[in-house]
Point group: D2
Chain length 337, copies 4
């Protein structure tokens, strides 16, 4: 069978996912799209050579008879409404992060899905699909380094523009670590603290950069994440897991070793797309396969909710010199992995 | 459109390519198969859940009206016959290496294809599709290391069984370097010499292991390839290109860095499939795309021929203490890259 | 000239320094020793083949007419007394860390030395003499990575015995980072905080292990130091300096790269002596040269005092969930570097 | 005791060794020097602040009553004469490489020393004193990689001037590998072949650069050494030992890992002095210690002879397209290690 997809939101990321479904992945095709900018949606359909209807509203896409499943890639504040509508229609939905712009909104989605009685929602967290994180998790799960005790992480970006503000270090950047680390060590966050190092000269008035976020987990693991979005030198994602018997680090992307000009060097990527493009492919293929096989196994609505609760606490900690508690209700059996 | 493929030969590699076309790649499906073992072919069709006819003979597959293009994965000595038949039928054909078991056979294919007037043949050399070699070629082509002067290579395998004999170090193993290195540095081989180091205790009476093959190219580049198929420790492919201004090395596969038991370590792969599986996917996707777009750009019949001529000289050099010339006719304009 | 040394304290470290002066370094010889265990001192003199007098008391050594300079390697609580006596006698003195067991004691030494009017004291901090730290400082000072903003450090030891308690993570272990980091980035500590990750199963009741110490410097640099003294896998010292334009890391000790058993690996040291033995040689040679040239340039009494003040704050922070201020008086011109 | 040294030859390397003995090493001092340029010798004595006599001739230095041992650092063609004279005087002598400019000359020294009945000669081969080669030998001798089968080596230099000619690739450059590799794997050379890759544009008319020397040892080990003295990018010494079970590589010199400008990089040295200065210190300290202890254990006259025989064969192989035999008489019991 070929899964027939409806796409709500045909901006940059929407078009990227459409391209992926149409030219890279197996088993799906896009049959309907909508966007708040109708003309933009129509242009995208033409440019991408789709045989797809342009509908005037996301709800219409959701309810179109020939649409089997949805991709929600619209403006963040509209995610919740469309995901809830998809659940109401009983159709599987892949929603780009954030699942909702508030923890309460995420919770409403969780509740609706549990009410429905079967998983319909996959949250767009792609890092668990990255080969590097998968290899790292495999080492941790093998017991080779013993129980994890500490994680030292860094999320570095060459630079950001003036629209990127202090809180976005959490909501746009750290959100990736918040989503992947709890999966990596199968744990949840218990508290957060933010400390501000000396600021780089390369930042602007509305952005404190770098920042260090200190997290404690329910099991007592301590996590430090350096967020440095004007680091100049490259896009560099680091995760080091210190266990009782050894330490495992996220693989560096494979690259040519060069000996030249009195240096042995390997290139560092500078664009996040180069780093994670394969993971984006894999997450969406997994969604397609999951829908076809009748069982979604990727990041759930609960995962979206848990990340949202943690992110809220981290933003609070940015404005508070002390430790902020993170309290997530117990994970319902419905969402057991 | 969906490309309709016929597969001749449903042994291990044939089934692997069928799986690939059916479950990983985009744009193609297998509609007909044959094998000398008809029952085996029928079983494979069932096991892989194909909607494909089982025909009694490769020629029937080639000529089946609903077959757009062919994959030849049959017994090596039959490759030539089926490729020639596909050309005669004017159908694109992907042929697993070797293109033919003799250089003369390869040449007959080259001649037939040139007679036909358009490229129909892709030879199953997958290393140019490996991300590592592509990255290495990009560095070389950038001029960053200047003109290549020497290549130091190694092809190491944990172990082989007793059916692997001295000549197979060339025909089964070195053939991969012979195919990829001339592409990598855009050059051709001019001579070969083989030297035999002290033999490992881990070999058997019919296999001299390790061996070192010394090649000179038309441009004077010197290549040394260590072939060591009982190296015990892993599957390890090395290529170091020494240029006038610097040196570039094939990337090591990405892997977790582990600190444990008084060692910093990265895993080395032990199975060639893990090393090159993505390249196999990419070569076949490229064939599918090439057929759909009406232009094959992957390894050509000429490339298959050139590798075959070089391999013959290397085998001769195994039995000859001196230098053996390699003489390939000039590349026809038809095959210009 | 040959510098004639008196050594106070002939325990393990005393004997080690005597061996160093007698068999490795240039320009000095040991002419007098003392120890609270007189027989032990006499045995050491015999075993090391010294032509040295055994005196009954450290003060006698200090005042012996043929003694030009002193090494104080006695029991920690006696350091202050002997260093003050050496200053009183106007003789240069190398004092093993700690300079004194309290910050107040260190301050008395600083005051005495300033009163004397010329540097006589070198504190036994050897890390600034390590080739790795020197190379790292050179990179920082070159401006290549811009202004330092954060330091990520780790001090890991395979294991400790039951006599090692929580506070010793500061006084025996972190003290090395406290001494070297302020030198490395030419800064001073402003506050400390200690956080306790989940404890390893390999610790004992009186030791919280691992610990993370968070320091802020006067210039706003944030430092995190992981102290993990039962890490099992090796003796591993890490320092990563994150600057405005790049990141520089302490060199890994040179070691053979081994490919075997499906791993690429480098050995990690397991004994701190192997890691820093050259630095011990260099610090003492520097003291000898400094005395001969009439100018001490190594770690000063002030450096000993500054480390002591910081260590006291860190110990306070171990028993306090919040941030503890570190306040050091302004550095006197006398001690300007 | 302090060993009283006479130095014959006060050019660059002579002054360097004098500085070493006077300011770095233990247990020796220079008491007499000579040079063909008497004024130069006098100037050196003054500049280096020595309390040493300037004698008019090397023989006078050898026979001076207060001279215990000799350093021969004069013009290469005079080495043999001075070493023979030292042996005749029964005085230990450290002779810079080459021991003599012909194999026959080396053999005369070997014979004279055996006649004398006790080792008096140390040849100035410093690589066995390098920590890296020592660590590599330790791994080989441990059996961890099994029996060595192949060595892949490179000797690269940023550039040379016009006085450096093709044969000097052997006599000035490869000589270091010839001396260290037979020690490393405890073997001797059986044959040599030289192949010439495409020449770099950075060479001149009288120098074929790069060159590859292929050696076979008595035990059948195959060694390839790339000699590339205008490689531009750095001074880079590589040795990879391929054994039956694994591969061990010469350590890279320790260096800061830098992340900047989209690269992870480590500096490569550009000057051989930085690479091997510690080894020069160690070899001379070993000579001093050996003389004081009455037993020389460093590179012997036999080692100088064996390297010379191999170098002669390599030079012959530069002018001969085939394989040149290397035949060394059996090692006399006198020189057993």
């Amino acid at each position: 069978m070929t899964l027939k997809l409806g796409v709500i939101g045909t901006g940059a990321i929407g078009q990227e996912h459409i391209r992926r479904c149409s030219h890279v992945l197996q088993g799906a095709k896009v049959v309907a799209v909508s966007d708040i900018n109708l003309k933009g949606a129509a242009d995208a359909v033409k440019r991408l050579g789709l045989d797809a209807e342009v509908l005037s509203d996301g709800k219409e896409v959701i309810n179109a008879a020939n649409v089997d499943a949805l991709l929600v890639t619209s403006w963040d504040p509209t995610h919740e409404e469309f995901v809830l509508a998809a659940i109401a229609a009983g159709k599987p939905v892949f929603c780009e992060k954030p699942l909702a712009v508030t923890a309460a909104g995420c919770k409403r989605i969780v509740d609706a899905e549990m009410n429905f009685g079967r998983r319909l929602v996959q949250t767009g967290f792609m890092r668990p699909y990255d080969q590097g994180y998968k290899a790292l998790k495999k080492v941790i799960d093998s017991g080779e380094i013993g129980q994890p005790l500490m994680l030292h992480c860094a999320h570095r970006n060459p630079n950001v523009d003036d629209s990127y503000t202090t809180d976005m270090a959490i909501t746009n950047t750290l959100i990736h670590e918040l989503s992947v680390l709890r999966w990596l060590i199968d744990d949840d966050y218990a508290s957060a603290q933010v400390i501000y190092p000396r600021a780089t000269i390369n930042t602007h008035a509305k952005l404190r950069d770098p920042q260090i976020v200190l997290l404690e987990t329910v099991k007592g693991v301590r996590i430090d994440v350096e967020i440095f979005v004007n680091c100049q030198y490259g896009y560099d994602i680091q995760t080091e897991v210190v266990g009782e018997k050894g330490i495992a680090s996220l693989p560096e992307p494979a690259s040519v070793l060069l000996r030249s000009q009195a240096k042995r060097s390997n290139a560092i990527l500078t664009d996040w797309k180069d780093r994670f493009i394969d993971a984006y492919d894999a997450e969406l293929q997994d969604f397609i396969n999951g829908v076809i096989n009748g069982e979604l196994t990727g990041p759930s609505a609960w995962d979206g909710y848990a990340a949202s609760v943690a992110a809220d606490a981290c933003v609070a900690a940015q404005n508070n010199p002390g430790v902020v508690n993170i309290s997530l209700p117990p994970r319902p059996a419905f969402y057991e992995r």
